[in-house]
Symmetry: C2
Subunit: 147 residues, 2 copies
């Protein structure tokens, strides 16, 4: 990453920390960078491994604590799919997931029709629906090609 981008990124992250009222630390900066660069919905361990390359002294619990902080301020989403391990998504806008049951890869996708379809009566009677989350499960192209 070039100096200019780094500077710009730092500037952006500074604003985020200010608006959240949290301190800007090197660890948080790098965890945030890893999250934004990640396109694979990494687990806490995955994030730890990636951040460790830049910040060798970081500890796993700092990663957990930072992820919890980010989630609290709505910077990221915590997701659970297939296995019990939590995964983290820097995409906080409303979206659904494509989940490969073979390699466990998670891909974001949107489906406006589902979002706008009128709710069935059972759902309306149940209570107040705040969000619709759809998981399409199957085998991704990569796994299909591999056999």
């Amino acid at each position: 990453m070039e100096t200019k981008d780094t500077k710009k990124f730092l500037e952006e992250f500074k604003k985020i920390c200010e608006s959240c009222g949290i301190k800007l630390t090197y660890q948080r900066l790098e965890i945030y960078r890893v999250l934004l660069e990640a396109k694979d919905h990494p687990s806490a361990e995955d994030i730890f491994a990636r951040v460790q390359e830049r910040v060798p002294t970081i500890s796993l619990d700092t990663v957990y604590r930072t992820l919890a902080t980010f989630e609290k301020f709505g910077l990221i989403c915590k997701i659970y799919a297939l296995d019990e391990k939590a995964r983290f998504d820097p995409n906080v806008s409303h979206h659904h997931h494509l989940v490969c049951t073979k390699c466990h890869k998670i891909t974001d996708f949107e489906w406006q029709e589902v979002d706008h379809l009128p709710l069935p009566s059972q759902a309306r009677q149940w209570g107040e629906i705040k969000d619709r989350y759809l998981e399409l499960r199957g085998i991704c192209k990569d796994c299909l090609e591999k056999g």
Copy 2:
């Protein structure tokens, strides 16, 4: 439960065990009974507590082992929603869930329109979709009434 029902239930469970090639034990029978009677998607601990009333000597790991066995043979579904703890659903037919973000209660529901809606192109290109799982999240009636 009356004698007749118990006998009938035992008969049914015997058939299930035979078709799965597993032994019929008292523990399995009672765990299965609890599952069928449960309408609240209990966790392993919940199931353990309920079975314990009938089988005081049962151990938690037997519950886990039995649930894993049942899942392997498709008698139940393991579900994850909101919190990381696994929950178990004796309803193995395709269905969706209403999840209360306050009391964490899970309710089954069906939504044929979603099941039959043509997939968006991004999903078709991603790979082969095998299942659609929808989670409607919100506040259930009980929680709304309580404030």
